[in-house]
Symmetry: C2
Subunit: 415 residues, 2 copies
Amino acid sequence: MVKPGDSVVVITQDERIEGMYLEKPALLKQDTIIIKLSSGYNIGIDKDKVKSIRVVKEYVKPRSKNKEIKQDSKLPNVSVLSTGGTISSKVDYNTGGVIADYSAEDFLEMCPELSNVANLKAKKVMGMMTENITYDEISKIAIEVAKELEKADGVVVTMGTDMLGYIAAALSFCLDVNKPVIITAAQKSIDRGSSDSFFNLISSVNAAANFNGSGVYVCMHGSSSDDYCNLIKGVKVRKMHTSRRDAFRSINEKPVAQIYGEGEIKVVNDSFEKRGMGKTSVKNKFEKKVGLVYIYPEINVELFDVYMDYKGIILMGTGLGHVPQTIYPGIKKLIDKGVFVGMTSQCLYSRVSSTVYSGLREIKALGVVYLEDQLPETALMKLSWLLGNGKDVSLMTSDLKGEMNDRIEYDTFLI
Amino acid sequence: MVKPGDSVVVITQDERIEGMYLEKPALLKQDTIIIKLSSGYNIGIDKDKVKSIRVVKEYVKPRSKNKEIKQDSKLPNVSVLSTGGTISSKVDYNTGGVIADYSAEDFLEMCPELSNVANLKAKKVMGMMTENITYDEISKIAIEVAKELEKADGVVVTMGTDMLGYIAAALSFCLDVNKPVIITAAQKSIDRGSSDSFFNLISSVNAAANFNGSGVYVCMHGSSSDDYCNLIKGVKVRKMHTSRRDAFRSINEKPVAQIYGEGEIKVVNDSFEKRGMGKTSVKNKFEKKVGLVYIYPEINVELFDVYMDYKGIILMGTGLGHVPQTIYPGIKKLIDKGVFVGMTSQCLYSRVSSTVYSGLREIKALGVVYLEDQLPETALMKLSWLLGNGKDVSLMTSDLKGEMNDRIEYDTFLI
């Protein structure tokens, strides 16, 4: 019987298709089979049309090996924690599926240069795509990071790219640390020739070992070549492109540093907390009843009723922080109920302001809190974290981890 | 008695405040007065603390003048329609309010150079800030534009900046035209020294008069200086900064042209419909039961129930178009009910794709339609327009007005 991962030849009424037999996605209709072509693309074929399927080569699951990791007492100690994502998707890519299953140990084996940079410890924390990660997983990652930081000089966390920005922000609030926590990922899986995985990994291990900052940063390609990675504060990072390796951008401030692989670390923006002594503390609770609401023309006021049992929402308003007048009553109802309502801008760049127009002053008078230059996604994570840990929501307008700044440099637009 | 617009001196327990007495925003608590300072900022003062208010200079409403507009038969004819927004906010700025009230006629008086570029006709269509504009107003603007195009060589529409992108997209679908319709606006009101109004206006009149394209375009500052404006397709434009004059950006393709004030028009990207002969047709109905939903970690599946009586929603998914697995049932319920569900990306740049990951294939299998490189806001307007005019929603994956392209040039990221 044909099994997922087998190389097959399928004969249909019209054609002959060679490729790898894949597991059928759960929600696809029953009478379809999926074949991954050598081009990397998958096609679905109606079972009705299939005349025969012949197994050319059976799939053999790769053996798990016990790896000896080289240790050098002169090098810093870095722990690499894997949580899933495209960077972890090799093994499943072989079977055609994409459920993340590739672990931190495998990275070390595939990228031996890493052991020139640091003494490495690897641990698989979970194997998930970020879009499915919940607050519970973020809490777990925070605990694992803190545990590793007891001994390591820095920690690298690998994950998927989709919700990386949210998770980086959430971890920034969870972790009071005196060492760097470097989050990295890949836009193309590690087994592809053009993968960005290795350069991101080696730059991240370099940053974890040698960067003179503490806190949570994201380390991803800074250009479309393998020349350097940008190190960006976890509270200021956003995925701005669906597929480019340099998709991750620092919004409203410059990246803190450029990391040249296992080489130089060039500080670009000195506004980061320095690496220091002291203990690590973790506050990793989250309130789940928070939401992010995008504003658009004639948005219906009734949509806001659904948030009546929420603890808080973040609006992505227009421009400096407008919403249509017709939804003022909906917002007022929420605020009267005790729901926190914060304002950010769907422009993403620069800050909201409640002073310029009378409409803005009216919205502020309803009790909406203007969140300055905080990213919508970061504001959501901060709100969930504040509420979850019993902190006062008035801290939404205080800078806790570099998420809010008085001044935005002019040359940071669309960099 | 003190009236809005009066220059006053307010004496409180603690200080002496000079400025302009403003109308109190409707929702502000009763016992506050608002004074606009000469710095341009407004302050609220508790009535309890006010010892005296003295009127220094009474506000006199500017007289409406009948203006003679110069005509030159050798010049093209351009109609300027004003709809409100910051570019129209001078008169109310004087009284301190910001309800748009300044009309197209006033632009011509304040910017006499405009008559060197074209024979101008001016008309005030409405006086609103864009965040309050509904589909009904968009329909009205479409009709007025079509009416003017019967005689004019091009039309300029001035409006606010906040929802300009949405309105430009909506008008693009409404109007089948063979002449250019140029939308412009200002980030700073026309009576400020640093206003971008005049340069945007003169560039827009130049484009309406002389640009060799047809259809709806946005003409706004292309840099932070008054050197040129970018002409951007109405379906590809987005406000990317809350305050900069060059906030409007062409997403996923280059602007079609650079407009050098009343001077040169330099075509940058030739992918536009050319100016031609033929009649103007307007299809200006919209379906109001459409929504835009932003995806974030652990978004609650129950939120989707609120869209059960909607005709369609556009998701702003993560990355290539993911959503958490936990909301698949909510989406499926909507689709089973006949609600159209389209997928765009919150990354904004590049396209969604349903083929790369099994999660994406599963979401597509639910019946979610992947909308390629269409902007979320444009997709929402297109959906509303298709449904409103009885057209098939399968057109969501056809390119109607340049909103969807097979190829994205590599050097268009963050330009």
